[in-house]
Symmetry: C2
Subunit: 506 residues, 2 copies
């Protein structure tokens, strides 16, 4: 490895080290920190963040990138470098540009606006008062457009923003995928709506925290989560966080009257953790930008894969239902496995995205994509968001939204300046289904294996193809490399069609 | 407040903030970190430590101290400053001198030698092989003497080292106290030895972790530990750590066959935590050097006070025994309170310091003080340590030490360069007893109050007089201020005499 590259790796690792320290501060704050420690903790976080920023914009890093021939236009650098080195430089150049192209006064203004915006959003949501939030949203919107202009002058703002979360994507590429998705999801939902509703009341028996915890622990083991490199804790909202190359932790929460919540959130977060723990772009690039996930959506594909494709599938419960019933006894005593599997796959349009099932979830995302792309492009005014939301909710989900709390005020994202982020959630499902189809070609007896308790084959397949490369490929390249074709929503639609035609009998 | 002082406080707080971040990294490592995370964690710790050091030796800090008139000879600075400001400057100057007077190559050499020394100690202890450890001990000893010479040229090395842990103390001042302590402890021990042994087998019933945890939680509440500013976890060795002004955490460990271990270690660490949480030298000096403990020994006085003076006292269990028996049931079913109190106060010479009772503990410390002061002064050669240890163990405790594992290899301290540290452990007991006597003058019905469950009066008294001042006083000044006289071992001896003459009937 060239000396310049070695030094670059050294500097890069140091900033990741700082980021991991920040992750510990954040993890502790969400899991066990004494409540009154919050004020000093925010000072500690600010200090670590400013140190991380400092280490991310060191001029020496920019000089080394240049010496190695990496520019915004030719991020991979000198053609004479090895492919893995070029992939590394490409990933690092993306991150360098993101970190250095924004003037610091704009960064500060944005931080202020989103901090105020989030506080205003909390209040607005509490009081169902969109009008009080509107000026904040407008301010954040103006600033995010200015940021986009700084990051890529001349490029449409929403394209710039999408690219932050899903490298290589554009409004057009997403719209192409989502318009097909929209049409087909609406069609499947209509078929489901024509069939009798599923009664899932068997999932509402009370299960104490200790028993739910035991079930979560067991599921983590079943899916192959190495507890020497991770752990499970409790937080208000489940999450996964990386505190080190060998330290990826998840959280869940235990709702006494709805135990499936912890089961599936544990499987979801385990999916995220397995991805992080599986990234292995070679020892030379351990703990560098190349060892980051390919994208938000690829990350989400891994959580959804384990939560839904595996965890809500018949084969998985063939193997595991009896033991689950023992662990949560007596909640599932006398319940038939088929009824359990039907219940955990109930589909029903609902107002809140985070509570949505596999079918309607995508429609929640399409709705947000259509609104936020219009907002950024100026085709929709902030004051018209509530009305536009209602119209689309009716159109896509058949729902009459009566208040903004269960409408356009439900998500924190826009108040925090996260425009271009929502599409990743739906893309994750599409990637997961497309990966699953490719996996079935390599492992034709996949269902039988899962039904026998062999999840290791699944994990090994994902590790080698999806996890290990980290950021070696852009997500679009990765999906082609792994499945042989570009992202195509047909895989997801076929998956839903196959699965739900059985469950609902259409 | 003068501008220079304001800036000094700002710089000081920033370094404390970094130290608290390091404390979180350490706490997490001892309590819940996934095992394989250890390598990266040590890199994270090294990064934070180097940042903390950088912030502790900023030349601006030295310039500000000078501008405010603070020198090594006149640490309090300009006479025109307020007393609290002068106390702050004195504390900060001490810390500044400690941090800046050592040449960095000596610091690095010392770090290497103690790291190797500790590893060698682990092996030597495993194999009962002092000879393999001796050259490491010699090296550490040579370096610590060089450090002492840098810190205070011309002053006897052991005086310099003692002053690091117990500001203001000298070999002579400690020897004066310890020679009296030695004589009187040996006398009390002889009286106890003439009486029948206590059978403490009632403490050996098995109690599961959940019940021991419940008992620890309850004891923390009983002693007044504010759980909004702290928490309890499990670690291999119990400790207290400060992660923020409002975040002081303790740990304990649960030994199924000896539940008193967790009870008393929880009370001990709670005592440390109550001290840290009670330091309140005014809002202007929150989170600064003035808000640090007065000394190691004063810290230890607080843990020993709650563990022994209160927690092993008859009045405390008058109030609390019944509930404890419920929590650990059936372990104490049918046991009389008097027998419980006798059992937890059993005195018997034993080889291991950390397992020693209230009476023999001090003799373990006297032994170490006499040896380490001789080592530093060159009156004892490293190779002669095992023999000297055996002689003193026989002399002080009446024990025949047959191997060095239970002799001079039992403690990690010397291998880590902690010379001058041991005396603090015994001084803590002396301070605790002297504070208790002063407290009894202000609260004559102390025992009755504790027996009624009123520990708040005790805590309030300690907070106001001992905790709140932080480092405002040197320990010698503090004890005079609080009790009206200098440190005098008579208080501790009287306390032991009163207590054990009752228990053993001599």
């Amino acid at each position: 490895m060239r000396k310049e590259l070695e030094r670059l790796v050294e500097l890069d690792r140091e900033r990741k080290l700082v980021a991991h320290i920040g992750a510990l501060l954040g993890w502790d704050q969400e899991t066990g920190m004494p409540p009154k420690a919050v004020d000093e903790r925010s000072e500690q976080l600010a200090l670590v963040e400013s140190l991380a920023h400092e280490k991310s914009v060191r001029p020496e890093m920019g000089e080394l990138l240049e010496k190695l021939g990496s520019t915004t236009e030719n991020p991979g650098g000198d053609a004479s470098l090895l492919p893995v080195e070029r992939a590394y430089l490409r990933a690092l150049r993306r991150s360098w540009d993101r970190d250095t192209k924004l003037p610091s006064d704009l960064v500060a203004e944005f931080a202020r606006a989103t901090s105020l915006g989030q506080a205003a959003w909390v209040q607005a949501k509490k009081n169902d008062d969109f009008a009080s939030f509107a000026p904040h949203l407008q301010k954040v919107l103006d600033l995010i457009k200015r940021e986009a202009a700084c990051l890529s002058p001349g490029k449409p703002a929403y394209d710039v923003l999408l690219d932050l979360y899903e490298p290589g994507s554009t409004e057009l590429s997403i719209r192409t995928v989502f318009s097909r998705l929209r049409r087909d999801l609406v069609a499947i939902l209509a078929k489901i709506g024509s069939r009798p509703k599923i009664d899932d009341s068997i999932l509402r028996e009370t299960v104490g925290e200790a028993r739910q915890r035991a079930a979560s622990d067991w599921l983590m083991d079943v899916l192959g989560y190495d507890r020497l490199r991770g752990r499970l804790d409790v937080s208000a909202h489940p999450f996964t966080t990386t505190l080190g190359v060998d330290d990826v932790r998840i959280t869940t929460r235990y709702i006494p009257g709805f135990f499936p919540s912890s089961l599936f959130s544990t499987m979801h977060e385990t999916g995220h953790a397995l991805y992080e723990l599986g990234i292995a772009p070679g020892a030379e690039f351990r703990g560098t930008e190349l060892a980051e996930a390919a994208s938000m959506a690829v990350h989400e594909s891994q959580s959804r894969f384990w939560e839904n494709v595996i965890g809500r599938g018949e084969p998985f419960w063939k193997r595991n239902f009896t033991h689950l019933a023992e662990l949560v006894s007596p909640a599932l005593d006398g319940v038939r496995r088929e009824d359990f599997v039907r219940s955990i796959n109930k589909v029903e349009p609902s107002f809140i995205r985070t509570e949505a099932d596999e079918v309607t979830y995508g429609l929640h995302i399409v709705l947000r994509f259509e609104l936020e792309s219009d907002l950024i492009a100026g085709r929709l005014a902030v004051r018209d968001v509530p009305e536009a939301w209602r119209a689309k909710a009716k159109d896509l989900l058949g729902l009459d939204v009566r208040d903004d709390v269960r409408g356009c005020l439900q998500d924190v994202h826009w108040s925090a300046g996260l425009f271009g982020y929502f599409p990743s959630y739906a893309l994750g499902n599409l990637y997961a289904a497309q990966f699953a189809d490719a996996m079935r070609k390599d492992i034709p007896d996949l269902d039988e294996r899962v039904a026998m308790g062999d999840n290791a084959s699944v994990l090994e397949w994902l590790r080698e193809r999806v996890h290990a490369p980290g950021s070696f490929w852009l997500p679009g390249e990765l999906v082609e490399k792994v499945t042989g074709s570009p992202l195509d929503p047909a895989h997801f639609i076929d998956y839903l069609d196959r699965k739900y035609s059985q469950i609902y009998g259409f």
